[in-house]
Symmetry: C2
Subunit: 336 residues, 2 copies
């Protein structure tokens, strides 16, 4: 038996999660069985969908009090009972909020540490990057000259969406974010053409002004008024990728959506995106984004804390929308 620390759900959650909903606890792990690995967690990714899952509002299982919090992580194999992985290999996958994880080898993906900084493999080059790639490449099918609007543009998905749209030839990439500080990041670091702060009183007019010819592609992470406003400014035949509903993850009631009349008049094509559908593209996308980072074609930013015990605090910040960049917990050093 091996001792490790893990963070568990301390109590049932029925509102936006806060740090006090979590507790660190020592636990014991048995040695890896056939086809299993013991992995030393290096970087833990904190993601908004976990907040929804804690409230039973996500398609993944709802954790119960006492359960370890689910989470994607990057780690290094310290014991292997699988022919596919050697001790020392870097892997990503679902490990939970822990320092050591006992995992099934079949659920892990081996990572080449030579392409780009290791943490990007669970950040911009990981699931957020896959989401962004699926949105722009598979669903919106961005073409040269497209006018593109991206909500939650300072976040790891939105920031990557806009940069991929630009790489695919979009003529005008405009972000939406919730503060002037975030907007500066979107234009200065991520290179968007413009960014609109949706807390400005005239944000709707700013969106209309940014798209005199209409919006060809809108990537929606938010729903609500942002979606309504994007639809009102959509060009004919505009494509809308619905990827998240940040405006209502923690609302008590699910609000109604836009009147479908606008979809008809604009001949809109509206598509729901669930990133799990594109899982088999992950190795290809991670490699591609790693190359873009290495070549300087893609920028990313991390909001990082040190030590697993800091995860609940960063998670509360993420839930409040106050983090800037991909939320990452540096659980342990990259090499021992």
């Amino acid at each position: 038996m091996t001792q490790t620390n893990a963070i568990i759900l301390a109590r049932a959650v029925d509102a936006k999660p806060v740090a006090g909903d979590f507790r660190m606890q020592a636990s014991e792990l048995v040695a890896p069985g056939e086809g299993e690995l013991m992995v030393r967690v290096i970087y833990l990714s904190l993601d908004p969908y976990v907040g929804s899952a804690l409230r039973g509002r996500h398609m993944t299982r709802q954790p119960q009090p006492g359960d370890v919090i689910p989470g994607k992580a990057l780690g290094q194999v310290v014991e292997s009972n699988s022919a596919q992985f050697f001790v020392g290999d870097y892997v990503t996958g679902e490990m939970g909020w822990r320092e050591l994880a006992l995992v099934s080898a079949g659920q892990m993906r081996k990572v080449d540490p030579g392409i780009a900084p290791l943490s990007t493999q669970i950040g911009v080059a990981g699931m957020p990057g896959l989401t962004a790639y699926a949105s722009m490449h598979h669903l919106a099918e961005v073409k040269a000259g497209d006018q593109v609007l991206v909500s939650s543009a300072a976040g790891p998905v939105g920031g990557t969406v806009g940069q991929i749209a630009r790489i695919m030839g979009a003529a005008n990439v405009v972000g939406i974010a919730g503060s002037d500080q975030k907007c500066s990041l979107v234009t200065d670091a991520y290179g968007f053409d413009d960014c609109i702060n949706y807390k400005d009183p005239d944000w709707k007019d700013q969106i209309a002004a940014a798209f005199p010819k209409g919006i060809n592609v809108y990537h929606d992470n938010v729903g609500g008024e942002l979606l309504d406003t994007a639809l009102a400014n959509l060009a004919d035949y505009g494509r809308v990728v619905l990827c998240g509903l940040a405006s209502q993850y923690h609302a008590d009631e699910r609000p109604a959506g836009p009147n479908p009349g606008v979809f008809i008049v604009k001949r809109a094509k509206v598509m729901g995106l669930v990133v799990y559908d594109f899982a088999e593209d992950q190795p290809m996308v991670s490699q591609k984004i790693g190359q873009w980072i290495a070549n300087g074609d893609m920028a990313y930013l991390e909001d990082r804390v040190q030590g697993l015990d800091q995860a609940p605090i960063l998670f509360e910040k993420l839930m409040r929308g106050e983090n800037v960049g991909k939320a990452i917990v540096a659980v342990a050093p990259e090499s021992l």
Copy 2:
């Protein structure tokens, strides 16, 4: 100058149109100028979009009191000032609610009277058929084995949608209509597998029961609760064509639509359809549907009145949803 009768808008309309909103009036037409034709109207099509146009709720121009009511018709050329058409040719196009129409030759389409009954060229083989074809072929891209739900299935668009879906290989075609009489037509005449009367108290359960594996394709003419219920029963990756909003054409406020969360979870692809975008396909589609009718592969039904003066009465019936089949006014005999 030639004398003719036309039906004009008698007064401004701010509710569901009734027969008393219209008035027959004699008017005079000048001889055709260069590139113009004088056409003897034979069949006049009555269509729901005209009701929306009268209230300024359609993308076409809003008629003002005193204006002739717009309408697609089929007629025969009685005077030609165009090299493209001869006297005696049958043509379809926008002629308005009149007995004689002076039209631009470039706006008319010549019709081969030998394929199928002439009236079908402005009925099932005309704009309603083009709408149905665009929905199933271009947007939903029906595949063999698809489970298909069609609203307003007793109407000329819905009835044709289901029959085209069947021709394209759909495994199960279910209609929705507003009376048991209409439902009998949908199954017995149009050959749908099933039809659900949305006035039955348990219509939502009936829809769920008709699609144990979920709906792959939903053609929506209605919006509102029907759309919500179809979305709730959509299979993953289901395609939804939004084509009409009968539930709200004459509502005082535009109600909200479904929460976009359902689009995400189902990975739905939702597409707005405006038939004018497919105008260049009309000759090909009219020919194809004419052949299907001639071969007995497609059934159609008409709700016909005789004489232009009967148009307002049939139109009021159409607005009330009480007509069964394509609403057609037989204005004059096919040949003199």
